[in-house]
């Protein structure tokens, strides 16, 4: 039974990856733009080699990347590479492979994402549940309202505003970069770590402020519904303490829908983090993508897109196996 479920989800995951990589394969080939020509024409413009050499270089690269093969052959080879997580070489930073670049960038992005997602999920849900709870003190609702108003603001814009008010006007925190210019990264030095943290505060804050409101909103809605349920009234009459009602009746019942919401929001959360990273110039996936777009480094763009898609889809499928742990009713089935 459980094996069948796992097999089904794995098939689903494969289908998701297959459709994503098929789109990424065919779309660029439908357009008349030639990534290799684009890249080397740019190099030629900045000076370096003569137009005659340019054609030769393009030709040899086209052969090397197998772009002169028939389309189906290319598709087959490409799929073989994807399965092995081999996204080829970066045009811009050859001989680094796309995977090298991703692996360099991923720890930064992962740390930022983990910290901000957990913080905003916990803060948002607690605030939302408390603001729907009749016994909660008035100041909780006062805090929750501004967060709800911020729901529509994309994290990037939050980043611009934070940069303006805190970085530019008050000069409290740096305006970007992973660490101060002139500092040599030394992972054993406490001062370097502190400097690193200072640079992470604004991007993290932008992501948290941009997403807390959504959790507050959905949690509050659910909290209000639960309030009207008979079992809550019954529990109150039984004399169960308010703290336990809050924990075991409010939070417990909303855990599953909110976890589902987190899984569904994952794509947006990751996209936002990538763009905020680009805005602040942190050395994560976002900046790698930004640089790749600016320098027409197409293999890197496609590699990053496929890598992130695989990660998001895998986590979404894995989350489904967490649901039974959160809700005994699913476990029964």
């Amino acid at each position: 039974m459980i094996l069948r479920l796992i097999a089904k989800r794995l098939l689903f995951l494969l289908l998701v990856m297959w459709s994503a990589s098929t789109i990424v394969f065919f779309v660029p080939r439908l357009s008349d733009i030639n990534p290799i020509r684009e890249r080397f024409a740019e190099l030629a413009r900045t000076g370096g080699f003569s137009p005659a050499d340019l054609e030769k270089i393009i030709e040899s690269y086209t052969r090397q990347f197998g772009l002169d093969q028939p389309l189906l052959q290319q598709y087959w080879d490409y799929m073989g590479q994807i399965v092995r997580f081999d996204f080829g070489y970066s045009l811009n930073r050859y001989p680094a492979t796309v995977m090298d670049l991703i692996m360099q960038a991923i720890p930064w992005t992962l740390t930022l994402l983990l910290v901000t997602t957990i913080l905003s999920f916990v803060i948002g849900n607690l605030l939302g549940a408390l603001s729907a709870w009749p016994r909660a003190p008035g100041w909780v609702r006062a805090i929750a309202t501004p967060f709800i108003l911020l729901t529509g603001v994309p994290p990037v814009i939050m980043g611009v505003l934070l940069l303006f008010f805190i970085g530019f006007r008050l000069k409290l925190l740096p305006l970007g970069g992973a660490y101060s210019i002139g500092i040599v990264p030394d992972w054993g030095d406490v001062g370097f770590w502190l400097d690193l943290m200072r640079h992470q505060i604004l991007p993290a804050l932008a992501l948290i402020l941009g997403s807390v409101g959504g959790w507050v909103l959905s949690m509050r809605g659910m909290g209000i519904t639960i309030q009207g349920e008979d079992y809550v009234t019954f529990a109150e009459h039984k004399g169960i303490t308010p703290g336990r009602i809050f924990r075991d009746y409010y939070l417990r019942n909303t855990l599953l829908p909110q976890a589902t919401g987190l899984a569904l929001a994952l794509g947006t959360v990751v996209s936002s983090a990538i763009i905020v990273e680009g805005l602040f110039g942190l050395p994560g996936i976002g900046t790698a993508l930004n640089n790749a777009i600016r320098s027409n480094d197409f293999p890197v763009i496609y590699g990053i897109v496929l890598f992130i898609t695989a990660a998001v889809a895998t986590i979404m499928v894995l989350m489904e196996f967490v649901y039974p742990l959160l809700d005994p009713r699913i476990r029964e089935q």
Binding site: V16, V27, S31, L149, R169, I275, G278, I301, T309
Partner: protein, 297 residues
């Protein structure tokens, strides 16, 4: 009969009812007010400024906001007030185009899927489910990145966004039609010999309109959001003063490092107002479409 005619004069008119409802539904009202404000800003803007000022080399560069240039000018010599007017209009155009196309696809597919069921339903539903976990923005990045940025147009932007932006509406409409199909009025219509086209358009469609309106707002919101993100990444039509493009350019030139704070701030505030008004309208429509949470007087 006499009862009805006696109460007639007391029955408030349609306009009055709408106004009364708007007073109750605060988020819808506020959202509409902001939206009309933005429309007025754009309309008056087009009447008073020269749209050419929104493009580079039309004004002195890097001027802080002043009486002549209320929002300042940027590094490339764009008058940011003019850029806001044109950019707002273009954002609206992309949002509406992508929103309407996406909703139309979603409604047609959702209806087909739910009404005919069987294989049709299985195929459409599963395609939606398989495409949903793919982070749409990233695929849009691939599509937009593969185009020659010199000739990306507003329409193309909208089409890129729609490409993977119809699954949500399809699933919502499908779910609604599925529940509506089981309602008694549909059974009555079927028994009285109405054909499926008639049932779809005369019985189900009118009941579905609030949901479709809400889905349209969600689609427009998502499209504005997506086009903004693409533009911030430098994947929009780079020549145009799209709000995201301006932030991208400001970031590329290190606006804050150089003290040109007004450059990224103007498009950010405009974007907050656009997305905020759409979010409020969406919340308001949710209440309208979902009678369970509809507030009573």
């Amino acid at each position: 009969m006499t009862y009805a005619s006696a109460s007639m004069p007391l029955q408030p008119g349609r306009v009055q009812l709408t106004l009364r409802y708007l007073r109750r539904n605060k988020s819808l009202t506020l959202g509409l007010i902001v939206l009309f404000g933005l429309i007025a800003f754009t309309a008056i803007g087009f009447l008073t400024i020269d749209p050419k000022d929104a493009y580079p080399l039309s004004a002195p560069t890097r001027r802080a906001p002043s009486w002549d240039y209320p929002f300042g000018t940027d590094f490339f010599g764009r008058n940011l007030l003019a850029a806001m007017v044109v950019g707002m209009w273009q954002t609206a155009a992309i949002g509406l185009l992508a929103g309407v196309i996406g909703t139309a696809i979603g409604v047609v597919l959702g209806f087909t899927s739910a009404y005919f069921g069987g294989w049709t339903d299985a195929i459409i539903k599963n395609i939606c489910l398989i495409l949903t976990p793919i982070p749409v923005l990233l695929i849009q990045v691939v599509v937009a990145g593969s185009l020659d940025k010199r000739d990306v147009t507003i329409l193309m932007m909208a089409l890129i966004i729609v490409m993977l932006g119809w699954m949500g509406t399809t699933l919502v409409v499908r779910a609604q039609v599925l529940t509506m199909k089981e309602r008694q009025f549909v059974a009555v219509a079927k028994l009285s010999g109405m054909n499926s086209i008639g049932i779809i358009f005369k019985e189900i469609m009118p009941n579905l309109l609030p949901f479709i309106a809400a889905a349209l707002v969600v689609q427009v919101f998502a499209a504005v959001f997506a086009s903004f993100y693409l533009a911030v990444l430098g994947l929009g039509p780079l020549r145009e003063p799209l709000l995201g493009n301006i932030i991208w350019a400001a970031q590329g030139q290190g606006a804050f490092f150089n003290g040109w704070w007004w450059w990224p701030i103007a498009p950010s505030v405009a974007m907050i107002l656009i997305l905020g008004s759409l979010a409020l309208i969406n919340m308001g429509l949710d209440e309208l479409a979902n009678p369970r949470v509809r507030k009573t007087e």
